[in-house]
Amino acid sequence: MKKSLLFLLSLFAALFLSACRGGYEAESRYITSAIGFDSTQNGLFATAEAVLAEATEESSNTVVFGASGTTPEDAFKEMEAHLPMALAFDHCGAVVLGDGLSCEQISAIMKFCRDKSSLNLAVLIVRAENAEELFSCNVPEAYCVGYCLMGIIKKASSLQGRDFSNRFYEVENRLSSASPCEIQLPIFNAAERHLHFGGLAPISEKGDVGYAAE
């Protein structure tokens, strides 16, 4: 009886090995919903949209950070150096590639995503004229651009009956037979801070977010 109890207890203890990846308190990290990259004269400008765990009525529930660097790693190192908390990439939904990025820069961004083990392999890769501008778009209250990008892609995919094959691992596979500049990715538009893609835009729908034709 005593042995069986000890056996069960040890199993129970070992089950604690099964937890979220590197568990942390939501208040101790900036949870990124999307990251973006734009080309600059000296290298890259990285942007990260983060969801705030403790949003107040007066403040927005998201915040956008930016920093420059010669490589994606440098840019994020620079960004985190000025933040009181680290960035968490576990729930990042999209990576936005700005126009003007060179083939080498896109390759470096893909490598950065590959090396970032906390970034999900199914993160969506999309394009926009300017990633920083895209993150400043207006979206329904209590929502963020990063997850709107995911929602619009999903909706467009079901409406058009096609798979955009723009998950990170799918793009990686396509890169094995094509140059990074040749890869076709969904292009989002952010004219006048109005987010849209394929005729779809995010709208408020019964306290939630929906995606409808403009």
Partner: protein
């Protein structure tokens, strides 16, 4: 077993050998990123296991053969122990020291070994159907995203790939099940059925990885099946379903490590088997910590 006694299928033995076989494959496979290599290695091990069954009786009486087999089982147990603890530290507890995760797992293995054998069988009876169900479920959920071109026929894998798969996954499972049925089972039908089912489900998980990521990308991933399942999301709330697959890995690794240590002790035949089990588990823990922290 007397010749005239009818051999009945023991469900406990099926579940135990199923987890033992799966434990050697599911965390790291498809090893080389080739489905063909995996299929070849597994088929070869079936033939080898079949050939070794009649020879196993004579092995039992040969001390050097017993020692050699015991060494192989201990190395396989160490491999499985290292794999699971490495996975636990890297993917689940990234701020925990390897030694701590290894000590917790060693404790679970020790209790599985020192506790009554029926407890391990009961654990297998619960875990094996659950593991099989989860693998099948993940396969079905991921199947809409499978790309036929990913199962590139050109990626046959080298002889080296097949050798690695054979030595790490198939051979220790086949040999240990041969020995297990000699020492613990009166009927080897259960062990063989479990081995066969374990092979099928390992293959299913390997195909899932290859058809999702492609052979080349799968090769670069540390824990391909977990990574494949991590791309699954159900609705907006349940993302990264790999949290569930950890339990499959834990059950498989626990059963495989415990059975391999027990068989090694059976083969060496120490005067105090319980002390032998404890010493070998402690040795495995020390070796694993040295290998991973040195």
């Amino acid at each position: 077993m007397p010749q005239n006694e009818k051999c009945t299928l023991n469900v406990g033995a099926v579940c135990l050998s199923f987890l033992l076989t799966l434990g050697g494959c599911v965390i790291l496979m498809p090893y080389s990123g080739t489905a063909t290599g995996f299929i070849t290695a597994f088929s070869a091990s079936f033939f080898l296991a079949g050939a070794l069954f009649p020879l196993m009786r004579s092995f039992k009486n040969n001390r050097s053969c017993r020692c050699l087999l015991a060494l192989l089982f201990l190395l396989s147990a160490l491999d499985c122990f290292n794999t699971f603890c490495g996975f636990a530290t890297k993917n689940m507890l990234n701020r925990t020291h390897y030694a701590l995760a290894a000590a917790v797992f060693a404790l679970a293995v020790l209790f599985a070994l020192l506790g009554p054998e029926s407890a391990s069988v009961k654990f297998s009876l619960l875990s094996a159907p659950a593991s099989a169900f989860l693998i099948l479920l993940f396969f079905l959920l991921l199947s809409p995203r499978f790309k036929a071109e990913n199962i590139a026929l050109a990626s046959y894998g080298t002889v080296g790939d097949i050798f690695v798969c054979f030595m790490r996954a198939a051979l220790p499972s086949a040999l240990s099940l041969s020995v297990y049925s000699q020492y613990h089972g009166r009927c080897r039908k259960g062990a063989f059925c479990g081995f066969f089912a374990g092979g099928i489900f390992s293959l299913l998980a390997a195909l899932c990885v290859i058809m999702l990521f492609g052979a080349a990308q799968a090769e670069g991933l540390s824990y391909p099946f977990s990574d494949a399942v991590s791309t699954l999301s159900v609705g907006y709330l349940f993302t990264r379903m790999d949290g569930i697959v950890y339990l499959v890995f834990f059950a498989c690794a626990l059963v495989r490590t415990a059975v391999l240590i027990r068989l090694a002790v059976d083969l060496i035949k120490p005067k105090r088997p319980r002390a032998g089990l404890a010493v070998l588990t402690a040795l495995l823990l020390c070796l694993s910590i040295v290998c991973n922290t040195a």
